[in-house]
């Protein structure tokens, strides 16, 4: 990992020196080893840049604000993050001319919650060794298979293609296992309505309305969210009625439908571990099945599915009939 970090820093330095950008948007050490946070680096501070198994944060959303500033910023993008940036560029949210996008390799990020669930307590640091993650803890060393600690979203990684980056950093990575990212959605669809209802009631009732999912989501980048706007009729700071958190999550998924790149940040940051990506992914699956494959951010010219139509689109009733056959 250190080797890759060095390669990134070296290339970033070259780019800064060549004048391609004036600063770097990357990850800085957090309070703990497992929570590196987004940060902006000048050339002199590049040695503080972190890139390891926990640098999961998608930096594309920060480009909205960064690109408004003077000068060009070099942003480090993992493959999945690059789609978010491309989508933001498509929506004119990011001034692309102020961005230099460097695609960096990623072999999946780690989920500290999974490590804790596997008994890692009092962790002080970690390192990676041949597909294993070694935690240095107060109580000694714990070794776990990397595969077992991958973030939910990385378990069904979409691949290593980048969208709309200026250059990519070549780096050899092990082969990516092929996984079906719609498996869980399909499994839910298979259940009875009662089972699904029970599942979602259980999940959504955990929501504390902290808005982390919204604040981290690159697609949820409205100047002002409808849920914060007293004029919208749905504004609320807390879920005052039982219905409200489901309304919040349905509408949130709805507002990003056709724009969500499936980056999985919402589920990653949810303090209550609600599988929010399953809502977004449901829309993605429906769109793919009903209107043809669509990947937000992939094609700058493609019309997003919800601002598009064909006269032959299926009727709403047809969709509901689908499951019944």
């Amino acid at each position: 990992m250190r080797e890759l970090t060095n390669a990134i820093c070296a290339r970033a330095k070259e780019l800064l020196q060549s004048g391609a950008a004036g600063r770097v948007l990357g990850w800085a050490p957090g309070e703990f080893f497992y929570d590196p946070t987004p940060g902006v680096f000048s050339e002199g501070r590049l040695n503080e840049l972190v890139y390891d198994g926990f640098t999961a944060a998608n930096l594309s959303k920060y480009c909205i604000a960064e690109s408004q500033k003077e000068g060009k910023v070099l942003v480090l993008l993992k493959p999945c993050d690059s789609y978010s940036l491309a989508q933001l560029v498509k929506e004119h949210r990011v001034k692309r001319e102020n961005i230099y996008a460097l695609g960096i390799p990623c072999e999946g990020k780690l989920d500290m919650r999974k490590a804790r669930a596997k008994g890692v307590e009092g962790a002080l640091s970690f390192r990676e060794e041949d597909g294993q993650v070694v935690f240095e803890t107060l109580y000694g060393e714990v070794r776990l298979a990397r595969e077992e600690l991958l973030l939910e979203r990385c378990l069904c990684c979409r691949g290593r293609e980048y969208a709309g980056v200026d250059e990519t950093l070549e780096y050899a990575l092990p082969e990516l296992p092929k996984r079906d990212r719609f498996q869980k959605v399909a499994a839910l669809e298979e259940q009875t309505a009662q089972e699904r209802y029970a599942f979602w009631r259980g999940e959504l009732s955990k929501c504390i309305r902290c808005n982390a999912c919204r604040n981290v989501c690159p697609a949820c980048s409205c100047v002002q969210c409808v849920f914060d706007n007293p004029q919208s009729g749905v504004a609320a700071k807390a879920n005052s009625t039982e219905f409200e958190e489901s309304l919040f999550h349905i509408i949130r998924a709805w507002h990003v439908a056709g724009r969500c790149t499936d980056c999985g940040e919402c589920s990653r940051v949810c303090p209550q571990s609600i599988p929010l990506h399953l809502l977004n992914r449901k829309f993605i699956k429906d769109v793919n099945e009903l209107y043809g494959e669509y990947q937000a951010g992939a094609d700058p010219a493609a019309r997003p599915p919800l601002v598009n139509y064909t006269p032959e689109d299926p009727e709403p009733s047809a969709v509901l009939e689908r499951g019944r056959a």
Partner: protein, 152 residues
């Protein structure tokens, strides 16, 4: 002065509350025609006029459920006949996805519906509303959308 029609009427019979969004050019006129042709449908159905079915935000549908509606139906011009040329095509996609999502959350799919009713289809309007009201009566009161967290 409670007039909420989803409360039982004098007979004690369950009366659902149904909100129907009708586009001004086709379906609202279709409802007018049903009226002038004296084609009855239950008083449970309350119509809200919108310029085009594409004006209906999913928020309105969810809001209606939140406030106690037992069924929500959207009516617009037949695809291809939209007064604004393309509005109902967007409606179709939006509602398809929204209904699919509600179904995914385990909410009875029969509570929502989209029907295309032209200005000439008074009979269809009435038949549609009768059918929808029957379906909703059979389903009973909407609890799930009002109360997704705690349930009962």
């Amino acid at each position: 002065m409670p007039l909420n029609t989803s409360a039982p009427a004098q007979t004690g019979e369950y009366r659902p509350l149904i909100v129907a969004f009708c586009c001004n050019w086709c379906s609202y006129a279709g409802a007018d025609l049903a009226g002038s042709s004296r084609l009855t449908y239950p008083a449970d159905v309350k119509i809200i006029r919108v310029p085009c079915s594409c004006r209906v935000n999913p928020l309105f549908v969810l809001k209606a459920f939140e406030r106690g509606a037992d069924g929500v139906i959207l009516c617009g011009c037949h695809p291809g006949d939209c007064h604004y040329t393309t509005g109902n095509y967007y409606t179709r996609r939006r509602m398809t996805l929204l209904f699919s999502m509600l179904d995914y959350l385990g909410i009875e799919r029969e509570r929502t519906r989209v029907e295309w009713v032209s200005a000439a289809e008074g009979a269809k309007f009435s038949a549609t509303m009768n059918d929808f009201a029957r379906t909703i009566r059979a389903l009973g009161e909407n609890r799930k959308l009002r109360d997704l967290r705690c349930g009962n």
